[in-house]
Amino acid sequence: MSTVKKNQWQQLSDEDVMEQFQAGEEMAYNVLVQRYRNRIYHFVYRYTRNYQDSEDLTQDTLVRLYRCRLSYKRIARFSTWLYTIAGNLMKSHYKKKQRMQAVSIYGQDAEGGNQPYDPADPQPCVDDSVHATILLERVEQALHEMPEEFSSLIILRDIQQKSYEEVVDISGLPMGTVKSRINRGRARLAGMIREYEHV
C-alpha cells in the first residue's frame, strides 16, 4: 500500500520521489518518467539530431533509471544523476557507431547506410560510475573557478604528485607559502564541492 497519496506526488521533490522508488514504491517510477521523459529526449536530441536514436536513448536512460535505482545516492541532484546517465549512454552510442562505420569502410559490413541503434550493454549497474563522473566534473569545475594561486599549486601537488621541493622550485614561492596555499586551496575545494552536492 502506497504511503504517498495520489495528489501528494506533485509536491515531492525529485529526490524525495526517488527515495520512494528506492523503497519499493513503483508509482514513483511513473512520476519520474512523466517528469523527465521529454526533458531527456530534448537533451539527447540536441546532440544526436536524430529522432530514432533520441527516442531509443531516452528509453534506455529510463530503463537504466529503473535498473540502477539503488545506485543513486542523495549526494547529487537527481536530475544531475539522470542526465549523466543519458550522457554516458550517448557517449557509448557514438563510440559504437564510430566502430561500426570504421568496419564498413573495409567492406566487412556491406549494408552501410543508417546503422540500427545498438541497445546499451546489459551489464549490471556499476554503483559508483555515475557518481564518479559527477564528482570528477565538480572537482574540475571547482579547480577552474578557484583563484589560480591556489589551483596551480594543488594541481602540481595533488594531481601531478610533485614533491613539495619541486612545487617550490616551479612556483618560486617559499615552502611555507606553498603549504599554506595548498591547504587553503584544498579547504576551498572541499567547500565548493559540498555546495554543488547540497540537495
Binding site: L136, V139, D158, I159, K179, S180, G185, G191
Partner: protein, 85 residues
C-alpha cells in the same frame, strides 16, 4: 567559510597531518591540539576532504584516458590564465 589558521608553521603541521607523513608522537600531540580547537578541527577536516577528492580525481584519471584528457585541457587553461596575468 571557516576561519583560517594563521601561522605557516601550523600549515606545515596540517599538511603533514593530512598527508599522513607526521611522526607518530607528534601526531598524537597535534591531534589533541586539534580537538581542543573546534575552528581548527573544522578547517583540518575541510583540508582533508579536499585532499581526498583530489587524490581520488588523480586515481580516476590514471585509469580513464577521457578523464585524463579533460583534466589535462583544464590544467592547460589554468596555465594560460596564469600566463595572461
Amino acid at each position: 567559510m571557516t576561519r583560517e589558521p594563521i601561522s605557516k608553521t601550523l600549515h606545515t603541521y596540517i599538511t603533514d597531518y593530512v598527508e599522513n607523513t607526521m611522526q607518530q608522537d607528534l601526531k598524537e600531540v597535534f591531534e589533541q591540539y586539534i580537538q581542543e580547537n573546534p575552528d581548527l578541527s573544522r578547517y583540518v577536516e575541510q583540508v582533508r576532504q579536499g585532499h581526498r577528492s583530489l587524490d581520488w580525481t588523480r586515481r580516476v584519471t590514471e585509469h580513464s584516458p577521457d578523464s585524463a584528457q579533460k583534466l589535462y585541457e583544464m590544467i592547460s587553461r589554468i596555465g594560460h590564465r596564469s600566463e595572461d596575468r
